[in-house]
Structures are given as structure tokens and as C-alpha cells.
């Protein structure tokens, strides 16, 4: 999903098929909005080497908290971490 070292991570394309399968196994059908949220999470990860918190995701995406809960029910950041394999933030 990403490569490189020394603090710099090169942006590569998502392997959508794998991620879609993982999401489906967790009861989530991916839509374009889901992908947009995942892209924001990945951009954040490239800069900070961790997933963002829910509050940061709300601010970055401009979506409402309830909407993010609708996209990734239960525990949004946990779900995104499980689907993408990105590490959860320290705050969680």
C-alpha cells in the first residue's frame, strides 16, 4: 500500500479489491464517499504515520460525526484501521 523509508512515504494507489473485500467482511459496502474518507485518512497517515482521530477526520472531511458513523458504523476509526491496516492513533 505504501513504500519508502526515512520518514517519507510515497503515495501509491489503493488496492481497492482487497479493501472492498475487507470492508464487505465487516458489513460495509464501499461507496465513493467511503473512498474519499479513506483517501483523507491515508493522506493524514503519509504526513503523521498514524491514523487521525475522529475529531480530526470530521474537520478534514467536512462531514458530520453522524455521517461518518453511518459510513463506518460502531467505531469509525477502528473500522478504518481494520480495513486499511493503518495504525490507530495513540488517543484510541
Amino acid at each position: 500500500m505504501h513504500e519508502g523509508g526515512g520518514g517519507k512515504v510515497a503515495k501509491v494507489k489503493w488496492d481497492r479489491t482487497i479493501l472492498e473485500e475487507r470492508a464487505r467482511a465487516r458489513g460495509i459496502e464501499m461507496t465513493e464517499l467511503h473512498w474519499q474518507v479513506l483517501e483523507i485518512c491515508h493522506d493524514y497517515y503519509r504526513k503523521h504515520r498514524t491514523l487521525c482521530t475522529l475529531r480530526t477526520l470530521i474537520k478534514l472531511s467536512g462531514l458530520e460525526k453522524k455521517e461518518i458513523y453511518r459510513l463506518f458504523p460502531g467505531n469509525p476509526i477502528g473500522e478504518i484501521s481494520q480495513i486499511t491496516g493503518l495504525p490507530k492513533p495513540r488517543e484510541c
Binding site: L54, K65, Y69, G74, N75, E91
Partner: protein
């Protein structure tokens, strides 16, 4: 008085677990609590046990209880029926003001739907705004300056998303007290406390004052009752109260029936109280952020806006697992007031 073991015995699911724990002399439960149930972002928890041969896990729902603890017998019956039909037949009234219904994991969502059908909802778990508690209010208490249960219901409806969708770094507890006596210890216990207050000094009724003296009380007695030395009584004449010294603690009003609270009623907002030992400073009492807000449309709009702003400020700047009290103590009350755009006109504001 019902004994806890007799009550738990009725629930076949929990009794053997409890018994095993007591026999072993250690908790039958394992670490962990809140679980991810897609339909319920908050309000459901499942505890794993160490005695998997008896019971693998014990789930429960946390119901946002009616403010002030007022509940009709009819609603209580419906709650009991739901706990019997879909749950384990046991109900726990928690110290935080919510009601916990024990049920199997697969029954948590159907049980929630059942609760929704008669107007109850779940929430109050995780890093969100917890169940807003309130004192009994004017329905039972003669000292109530504001209708605390009504206020808790209003704030509960206003902040319902904050109660049901966790999104903070740590939990936030809120309580509403009808007067400065603060019977529910909201100032000391809750991260946010809305307390009924009156503006100015207590009013003195001349006739009642004479009657009070005829009952054998004396002016000097009243003077000594005031811990802030605000009351002066010369030769049992009408008491004079120094508005600069009076902190509206209402001790004099409770002691002397000739005194009554000022007519202009409202609420004060306190923040930062907590009982828990977690955090740098341990348990702490709250500090006053807003000395007086009238309970009017405009006043409540101001109150909710300040609470929203404070929650945003804290959530954006808090350290890991930092409660509002620790945040206020680290950043400083003055700085927080400045960030919230509140001009402090209440003096030190350390005492109410």
C-alpha cells in the same frame, strides 16, 4: 431490605458467575468493556468473564434515565417487562444516574428497539457526554431555584448526538442542581455542572424575622452561621447582608425562614469537577465559568453555546485521556475564559 444475592439469584445468567467470583475471592470478570456494535455507537457494553465454562461474556445496555430520577410506575413496568423478555431479568441503577439492563449480545439491539418504542434511549458509554443527572427539583424540594430535571431534559435533547456518538478523547459527565446546596454534588463530581442560583443577596421578610426571633433564635446566631461573614445583625434588628461578601451559598436561608433567595433566578456553569483518581491532580472540585445565566430562551442559548465551545476547546487541546478538570488546571481558568470570550465579572469565582 432486599439482599443483593437474593436479587441476583433470580437471574440465572449472572448468579453462578457472581458465586464463582465470591468463592474464588477475585473478580469473575476480565479486562475490557465496551464493544463495537454497529447499530449502537454508544450505550452497549459486553464484559468478558474469566469463567467461560459458566458464561463467556456479560452484556448490558445503558439506558439514559429520565432526569431527576422521576419515572412513572407504568414506564417502570414496561422497563421491567423488557428486561424480563429480552434481557437477563436484572436491572442495575448505576451511581452515574443511568439504568443498566443486562442482556445477551444478540439481544442488545432488539432490546434497544423495545426501549425506543416507549420513549427511552441508550447511550452514556465511552468517550462521550454521559447521562445528564439532575436533583429531584421543585417537585419535591422547597429550595429549588430552577427546575433542574427540566433543564437536564433540555440539555439532554440538545446534546443527544454527543451522548450517543462518542467523539471526544475522554468521557464528559454533566449534572444539573436546582440550587447552591448541590445535593447531587454536581460541582464536585461532574465535568460540567449547571447549578441554580439567584442574583444579588437574600431577601428578608420583616414579619417573619420577628416571628423567627420570637421562637427563641437570635441575630448573633444567624451572623455566626454565615461562613463568609456577610450578615450583620445589630440588637436583633433586621439583618443587613453585604453583597460583596455574600456568595449565595444559602446557608442562612436554610437556617432562617425569614430569609428567601433573590427573585432573579438563573443558573451558573461550573466545569472541571471529578471524583476519579486518574489524572495529574486526582479528584478536584469544579471552577465557575459563568456566574449567572437567566433561564430564558436567550440565556439557554448562551449556556449551550458556552458548553459547546468549551467542549470543542477541550477536545481540540486535551492531552491523552485528559478530563476537563485536568485540562482546566493545566491551561488555567483565566486562559479558558479568554478563549471562550467570557469576561469574568464574578471575582475569584472559586466558591459559589
Amino acid at each position: 431490605m432486599p439482599r443483593v444475592e437474593n436479587e441476583i439469584k433470580k437471574s440465572q445468567a449472572l448468579w453462578p458467575v457472581y458465586l464463582k467470583g465470591v468463592c474464588q475471592g477475585r473478580t469473575p470478570y476480565d479486562h475490557g468493556g465496551y464493544v463495537n456494535i454497529p447499530e449502537l455507537p454508544a450505550g452497549a457494553a459486553v464484559r468478558a468473564t474469566r469463567v467461560a465454562d459458566i458464561l463467556e461474556e456479560s452484556g448490558y445496555l445503558r439506558v439514559l434515565s429520565p432526569p431527576g430520577g422521576w419515572m412513572s410506575a407504568d414506564l417502570l413496568e414496561k422497563l421491567a417487562d423488557a428486561a424480563d423478555d429480552l434481557g437477563e431479568g436484572i436491572v442495575h441503577f448505576s451511581t452515574g444516574g443511568s439504568i443498566e439492563l443486562y442482556a445477551k449480545r444478540e439481544q442488545l439491539v432488539p432490546l434497544t428497539r423495545r426501549l425506543n418504542s416507549f420513549g427511552l434511549d441508550v447511550g452514556s458509554t465511552g468517550n462521550d457526554l454521559r447521562c445528564i443527572t439532575a436533583c429531584a427539583g421543585p417537585l419535591r424540594c422547597e429550595y429549588a431555584l430552577v427546575d433542574a430535571p427540566w433543564l437536564a431534559a433540555f440539555l439532554g435533547m440538545h446534546f443527544i448526538d454527543e451522548q450517543q456518538f462518542p467523539g471526544y478523547g475522554q468521557k464528559v459527565k454533566m449534572g444539573c442542581s436546582g440550587c447552591s446546596f448541590d445535593c447531587i454534588s454536581a460541582v464536585k463530581q461532574k465535568d460540567l455542572a449547571v447549578v441554580g442560583v439567584y442574583r444579588g443577596i437574600p431577601l428578608v421578610d420583616e414579619k417573619l424575622w420577628e416571628e423567627w426571633l420570637r421562637h427563641g433564635y437570635s441575630g448573633s446566631e444567624l451572623e455566626s452561621l454565615c461562613q463568609h461573614k456577610a450578615i450583620k445583625v445589630e440588637d436583633d434588628s433586621l439583618p443587613t447582608i453585604d453583597p460583596d461578601l455574600c456568595r449565595s451559598c444559602m446557608s442562612c436561608i436554610r437556617a432562617c425562614w425569614a430569609l428567601c433567595p433573590g427573585r432573579e433566578r438563573g443558573v451558573a456553569l461550573w466545569a472541571g469537577g471529578k471524583y476519579g483518581n486518574r489524572g495529574r491532580a486526582g479528584p478536584m472540585s469544579g471552577v465557575r465559568l459563568l456566574p449567572f445565566v437567566p433561564v430564558s430562551e436567550k440565556g439557554l442559548a448562551k449556556l449551550t453555546r458556552v458548553i459547546e465551545d468549551l467542549l470543542e476547546l477541550w477536545a481540540d487541546n486535551c492531552l491523552r485521556k485528559e478530563r476537563i478538570g485536568d485540562f482546566l488546571s493545566r491551561v488555567g481558568r483565566e486562559k479558558v475564559l479568554e478563549s471562550l470570550g467570557i469576561k469574568d465579572s464574578s471575582g475569584s469565582g472559586e466558591e459559589g
